[in-house]
């Protein structure tokens, strides 16, 4: 499949000399939600800004829908929508006007009916003629989304869409993002919340210090990198771990009824089969077994540790 966004050997060094992006390679496909996950200062905003044309690349190239973002910027920017990280809005404009402005900037004729529909979808219709400065933070965020969607983009960038947004609104935001994806819009969002990447992304790219550490399907990522935890509940409590089981580095709970076993799905042998045999041989009787997938958070911490 032809990627909708293709980034090749992209590097960016700011005038200050700071290298914010280091040889990024990434293909993004039509209709997916990809999350760029990384701590503050990782280079997420720089990466998005470079694709959108706000920052010029130092080296490397980007194509959007097959067009070069520098040489054929009219084609690429016409189909891109951007919701910036900060609540950057004028003060004295009315809501509907500022959305109409964004639409015009992207070379589209005025379409008040579509803007009203957008406002309805974003629960902003009653604020249509309100001044921007009178809106709450959550409303401003939605106005910014409205502006980004004003020209019906097919690729939408959301830079930390839920930073500083409360839990309830965050869920609303995720639903909105899913609806957009279902309508065929490709979505690239950045976040430093693992939970966010975990909940809505199809693929996750982990970025740190300007480098893209990996990009994986969310499920593959979790399978491939996730260490798992096996909880073994015993019928009768034991006072210590039997000699024959020490090599498994088990943890015994205080009440002596559960054993914890950590294993890594990256290893070809998880050691579970032999553990079971040895438990049996040690005369322990099992009551129950369950496994727990580690969260993206654990994966993330592991990755960053591995890097440093």
């Amino acid at each position: 499949m032809q990627p909708i966004v293709s980034i090749k050997n992209l590097s960016k060094t700011y005038q200050s000399g700071h290298k914010a992006l280091n040889n990024i390679n990434l293909d993004i496909f039509k209709g997916e939600i990809i999350a760029l996950l990384g701590p503050n200062g990782a280079g997420k905003t720089t990466l998005i800004s470079t694709i959108c044309g706000i920052v010029t690349p130092s080296s490397g190239s980007i194509t959007v829908d097959g067009y070069d973002t520098v040489k054929q910027y009219r084609q690429t920017r016409a189909i891109i929508g951007l919701v910036p990280q900060e609540l950057t809005l004028g003060a004295f404009d009315a809501v509907a006007n500022t959305i109409a402005f964004s639409r015009g900037l992207h070379g589209k004729p005025a379409d008040p009916a579509y803007i009203d529909k957008l406002l309805t979808d974003l629960s902003l219709l009653d604020k249509r003629d309100s001044m921007l400065m009178t809106l709450s933070g959550g409303m401003k965020r939605r106005v910014l989304i409205g502006k980004a969607l004003a020209h019906r983009p097919t690729v939408l960038f959301l830079d930390e869409p839920t930073a500083g947004v409360d839990v309830e609104l965050r869920k609303d935001m995720w639903n909105l993002v899913r609806e957009l994806r279902d309508s065929g819009v490709t979505i690239i969002l950045t976040t430093h919340y693992i939970e966010e990447a975990e909940s809505i992304a199809d693929r996750v790219g982990v970025i740190n210090n300007g480098e893209l550490l990996l990009v994986e399907d969310k499920s593959t990522l979790m399978n491939k990198l996730g260490s798992k935890q096996l909880t073994i509940e015993l019928r009768e409590s034991i006072s210590g771990i039997p000699e024959t089981l020490t090599k498994y580095e088990l943890e015994l709970s205080e009440d002596g009824t559960t054993l914890l076993y950590h294993y890594d799905t990256r290893q070809s042998r998880t050691g579970i089969t032999s553990l079971m045999k040895d438990i049996n041989a040690a005369g322990l009787v099992l009551k129950d077994l369950h496994t727990k997938q580690s969260s993206l958070e654990d994966i993330f911490v592991n990755l960053l540790q591995a890097e440093s």
Binding site: Y14, Q15, S49, C52, G53, I54, V55, T56, Y73, R74, Q75, T76, R77, A78, I80, L82, P84, E86, T88, L89, G90, A91, F92, D93, N97, A100, F101, S102, R103, G104, L105, H106, G107, K108, P109, K147
Partner: protein
């Protein structure tokens, strides 16, 4: 050409004027009236005529130029500086528009606004003194050329400035003195010979002189030179804007 983009930028800028109507239009009108009272009535009662023109009429072209220059520069510089300041410039930078289109939108709006202000001042002046315009076509030409040139200049300042202080620096320290010393309120030959020479280095003198010629058919310097000077300055501004466009100066990192 992205005409819709030029259109919405132009419209937004004009709307901003509309919203700050009082400040944008009333203040030049009021200050013009004050100039008339102070210069026209107080000094005019002593001087009466400059050449064949009554002093009250004589200062009209200079007054209009004074407002035109300061208004063009402040409107255009503020228009592009403000989005930089609030961060909304991201939208302009990520839109499918060229620098030329950005310039046409912002500078076009600023120039239009100055033109309107110029017309209002002219009408206001009509209440105080009798005005006969000798060369209406040239008057309009000078008016429009000046509005465009100094709006472009303001746009350049707006992009260059990274603080409100810098934004006000050039108009305050350069433009206002040049206009006052450029023969707005007097004819150059009223000065001692030495200062007449010095004044010839003031580009604004040529503007005011040419503009005054279009009113009264009298000028301090030849009209051809006046016209050449303004075209020269216009070309210079276009060249700087073009260079900014090429290098992404202060806009794109």
């Amino acid at each position: 050409m992205n005409w819709y983009a030029i259109g919405v930028i132009y419209k937004q800028e004009m709307l901003r004027t509309w919203n700050t109507m009082l400040q944008s239009i009333a203040s030049p009108v009021i200050s013009t009236c004050l100039y008339f009272v102070v210069f026209g009535a107080a000094i005019g009662s002593r001087i009466e005529t400059v050449g064949s023109v009554s002093y009250g009429s004589f200062i009209v072209p200079g007054l209009i130029m004074l407002s035109l220059l300061t208004q063009s520069i402040s409107n255009a510089s503020f228009g592009i500086y403000f989005p930089k300041f609030t961060g909304t410039i991201y939208e302009i930078l990520s839109a499918p528009i060229s620098f030329l289109e950005v310039v046409l939108g912002y500078v076009g709006a600023a120039a239009t606004k100055s033109l309107i202000i110029g017309a209002i001042i002219l009408a206001t002046a009509g209440f105080f003194v009798e005005l006969n315009i000798a060369h209406p076509f040239w008057m309009l030409a000078f008016l429009i050329l000046t509005c465009i040139t100094f709006s472009l200049f303001g746009f350049i300042i707006g992009i260059w400035a990274d603080s409100f202080e810098k934004l006000q620096l050039i108009p305050l320290l350069v433009i206002t003195p040049l206009v006052f010393l450029g023969g707005s309120f007097y004819s150059v030959d009223m000065l001692p010979p030495f200062w007449q020479k010095v004044t010839l280095f003031n580009p604004v003198l040529y503007l005011i002189s040419g503009f005054r010629w279009s009113f009264f058919d009298v000028a301090d310097v030849s009209v051809g030179i006046s016209l050449a000077m303004i075209v020269l300055f216009l070309t210079l501004c276009i060249a700087i804007v073009w260079w900014m466009f090429k290098t992404g100066y202060k806009l794109r990192q």
